[in-house]
């Protein structure tokens, strides 16, 4: 009896080891390219390091210096401003696109393809195009606004509009998220709508009480991914504004880049990266925790 039990345990252990062996390519990559860099980044954040020679241990002095640097706080403010604007707007645009793509429109596959294209184009290429489109003198956008008798907006040169221009670039990725929302819409069983119709619900009530609750798992996914990407927003600002005008688009990721590669302050940049990592992790955990109050997993 005892012998038999031992054999089962050793069999389980063997299965476990075999399983670990099978997923080892992923585990090794995870530790080597994710866990180790994150930990070594926190170590680097405690040093003074120019990129050459040996890092010199200075404890928490980088963090003290950051607390005194107004540009660091500006960059955090800009990043949160961007995330708070771009992420909810992205959810709304993506749901609107998905709802429209779910209608009985014959040539809908054409729109799906067209809306998806900017999502697969490199962000830097879309940003380069936007520099032309948003040009205050020769750009297409101001030309079209001129038709509506709206005076020309200096999108990238005016600190009131520059962050909105970056938010606008982010919306070009909404076609991609829109397709994910479309699959979620398709997964909603038709009988729920039939039942709602029998109860006398109109379009708006059907959307509010059937569609939206069943989209909440996808909204949760979009918000988590959106915050992760939004906190690291870099390419549009780097290409389109370089952090200007008046540091209005100096996002935290750009602040990291400038410190690390322009001012050779790798230690300081690593400290900021660590702070950004912690902020992202805390927000992700907080949203996951909050999800039990507003995410509906009824279908699954």
């Amino acid at each position: 009896m005892k012998k038999n039990r031992q054999r089962i345990i050793s069999g389980d252990l063997r299965d476990l080891l075999l399983g670990l062996l099978f997923i080892s390519p992923w585990i090794i990559g995870f530790f080597l390219f994710l866990v180790y860099p994150v930990l070594s980044n926190f170590h680097l954040g405690m040093t003074q390091y120019s990129g050459f020679g040996e890092p010199e241990w200075i404890g928490f002095r980088n963090y003290e210096e950051l607390a005194r640097d107004p540009l660091f706080w500006t960059s955090l403010y800009n990043t949160f401003y961007y995330v708070l604007l771009a992420v909810p707007l992205g959810v709304v645009v993506a749901i609107a696109l998905a709802m429209a793509m779910n209608q009985k429109v014959r040539e809908v596959t054409l729109y799906r393809a067209l809306l998806y294209i900017p999502g697969i184009a490199p962000v830097f290429a879309v940003s380069m195009m936007l520099v032309w489109l948003l040009n205050p003198r020769f750009g297409l956008f101001n030309y079209l606004l001129g038709w509506l008798h709206i005076p020309a907006i200096n999108w990238l040169g005016d600190s009131r509009w520059s962050k909105l221009a970056i938010v606008l670039v982010a919306q070009f990725g909404a076609g991609h998220i829109g397709l994910i929302f479309l699959t979620a819409l398709r997964a909603i069983p038709g009988h729920l709508y039939d039942a709602a119709s029998l109860d006398g619900a109109g379009h708006w009530r059907k959307f509010w009480y059937v569609t939206l609750p069943l989209l909440t798992p996808t909204i949760l996914y979009d918000i988590i991914i959106g915050i992760g990407l939004g906190l690291q927003v870099f390419v549009p600002a780097y290409i389109m504004t370089g952090g200007g005008p008046l540091n209005s688009t100096m996002f935290t990721a750009l602040y990291i880049y400038k410190n690390a590669f322009e001012y050779s302050r790798v230690g300081l940049a690593a400290a900021v990266s660590g702070i950004l990592f912690v902020i992202n992790a805390v927000l992700a955990v907080a949203i996951f925790w909050s999800s039990k109050y507003w995410v509906n997993y009824h279908l699954e």
């Binding site: 696109l97 729109y111 067209l114 809306l115 900017p118 195009m129 020769f138 297409l140 070009f172 006398g200």
Partner: protein, 79 residues
């Protein structure tokens, strides 16, 4: 009574909804395709036309020279 009224309402709004969706999709598609459209149109414009205001939506004269020059420029080193 209520049911009859609603049946009429849905009948009216049924053909309207795809139309609204179609207009919305066309508008958004034009917006989303605008960077790529602008890229190709700009590539075909002459240097002189690029400085025009208001910008031309379609090149007055199509210049293929930019495509001829691009490989030469990318091959020659900048320094």
């Amino acid at each position: 009574m209520i049911h009859m009224g609603e049946a009429v309402q849905t009948k009216e709004s049924a053909p309207l909804q795809p139309l609204v969706s179609r207009i919305f999709l066309i508008g958004m598609s034009l917006f989303y395709i605008s960077p790529i459209y602008w890229m190709f149109v700009t590539a075909l414009k002459s240097d002189k036309e690029l400085a025009n205001f208001p910008p031309t939506l379609w090149p007055k004269e199509i210049v293929w020279g930019n495509f001829e020059q691009a490989p030469e420029l990318s091959l020659s080193s900048p320094t």
